[in-house]
Point group: C2
Chain length 363, copies 2
Amino acid sequence: MLENITKTTLLVDKDIAIRNIIKMKDKAENAGAVFRPHFKTHQSGLIGEWYRNLGIEKITVSSVAMAQYFALHGWRDITLAFPVNLREISSINEIIKSTKINLLIESIEVADKLEASLSQSVDVFIKIDCGAHRAGISIDNPNEILSLANHISKKKHLHLSGFLTHAGQTYLTTSPVEIADIASTTAHKLQKLKVVLNDPELVLSWGDTPSCSMIEGLKDFDEWRPGNFVFYDVMQFHIGSCGLDDVAVAMACPVVAMHQKRNQLVIYGGAIHFSKEHIVADNGFRLFGYVVPLTDNGWGQPISGAWLSSISQEHGVVQLPPHTTELFHPGDLIGILPVHSCLTISAMQEMISLSGEFIPCMK
Amino acid sequence: MLENITKTTLLVDKDIAIRNIIKMKDKAENAGAVFRPHFKTHQSGLIGEWYRNLGIEKITVSSVAMAQYFALHGWRDITLAFPVNLREISSINEIIKSTKINLLIESIEVADKLEASLSQSVDVFIKIDCGAHRAGISIDNPNEILSLANHISKKKHLHLSGFLTHAGQTYLTTSPVEIADIASTTAHKLQKLKVVLNDPELVLSWGDTPSCSMIEGLKDFDEWRPGNFVFYDVMQFHIGSCGLDDVAVAMACPVVAMHQKRNQLVIYGGAIHFSKEHIVADNGFRLFGYVVPLTDNGWGQPISGAWLSSISQEHGVVQLPPHTTELFHPGDLIGILPVHSCLTISAMQEMISLSGEFIPCMK
């Protein structure tokens, strides 16, 4: 298969991806939670079938366009995990004719505007900010949450399904104890709200790959929505969510030049392929990916002392251990494990499997 | 036009873009240089016509796919300013049947492999590293450059056109004096090589937006290849290449939530729209873009004290001056001047002009 690759190409190891899906599905179900994986990571109708074949029926997406795409691919229960964009109300009204779309609300103003513009009723979640400080009502502001819940209960077109939160701050720690603490503190506070509202049916929806991967015995939530776990990446390895053997994607990059004095390769693989997401290592070096040898069956272990050290629009510079540039030639292919698989796939919008199957994404 | 925008949309002010093209073209021609703009910034056949209407006939691209695209749009003299990817030799042989493609070489190994695989002769430039330390032979290694030039002269399929360099290090300084010094030192060393090779016809090809914008009286090069200048961006403003009035693109982003206590807006506009390129400000804040009000005729001056302060896949968080969140409502549109227009366009792959004209890119 490698001989057919002429340019920067994202490879996916289907066996690893399916193993990751099964493992996370089992973990969620053993915790008594509904597994509603986030599809923004792969954005592919074909990869969606890998989940469907395992019995998964409920999914999460992050845009109206993604909801439309997966509705066209036969998914009928989709949580749109992004604060409603009121300017897309026509498209939302169109999708909800065929598909259950669960929306996120975090203000009375949006509840009122939705009530006035929705053509039929929808399930909604109140978006809770449990510490990431991006979207949602602060979990430490229970009065505002309860007030919005009561407001929603009076709306004909809105049915409150529960509380949804994304602990984005788990990406900033590598401590499983700290992550478990974020989860249990959040769950405790949300359960109190259920008691006040006297509604045991309210769903507590949770989901980020670090916590769902790292916490054992996470039983406090009714629903899990991780996404990245299907492929993982170097960032998740650094956080501690996965081993490098669990990373299911690698970018095949042509070598275009070698620089012996600097121990560097120039590759065809840059910001338009990987995004500019990176990790700043302890020594101050910027890390855009690990380097792996490609084989006919996939890829091997990362080369020790080698990393993708800088990228511009199409160029990548790979730092190698001393005296190893001579192992490479222009026209060779090397593999790069990406720092952030979601953004890499969003940039590429297509992949091929190790058996050479073409896997298109939504764009 | 604004009322038709439902989601994150890149706006281009054609008047500003054309003004930027005319200004740079005049500056290059007044310096006695051929103007060969880089088209990787806009990646659009339609925007290419704006240049063609001004009499521009020679262009620069950064990938074989981009060369194919612009060849299909009638461009017949294209420099592929990226070290040759030998795995794409079939595509290169196909394009050169109809189009003059100038290739970049930086090693004897690639020269030999090209000689063996090209179906007809092409013009080549030796890629010179004048200090960016990405691709190219170091300008301080004249013997290696001369040796490659002599090697190329013996090849039937390769004709040496000149030396090509990209002073990427100009992005790291804001000093016009320092930038002018990089240019003149580089030119001086390249001119020496021409003397040694006794070939006054060799073209010295230069080009990066900071130097072409900031240096007055840059007369040392035969060809200019800047690209970003057509739209400019916040990074170029910070370097000093342009005024904010010269920035020709702005992202229209729906407001989806307000957070009064944090003085923040959440917008639909994230890494998949802007890329993750950012500037680290003196105070340590990360800057992903400036905030501008949108009007029916374009956009206004940046709002003082407001900036795009963080982005994830689809979310953006805008930091506002205190007590101003109440001026915004969910469903409003705000504009963001991007940090790096090239990567933003590469992520979006489409724009609309202020008159509502749809402008597709190559993908």
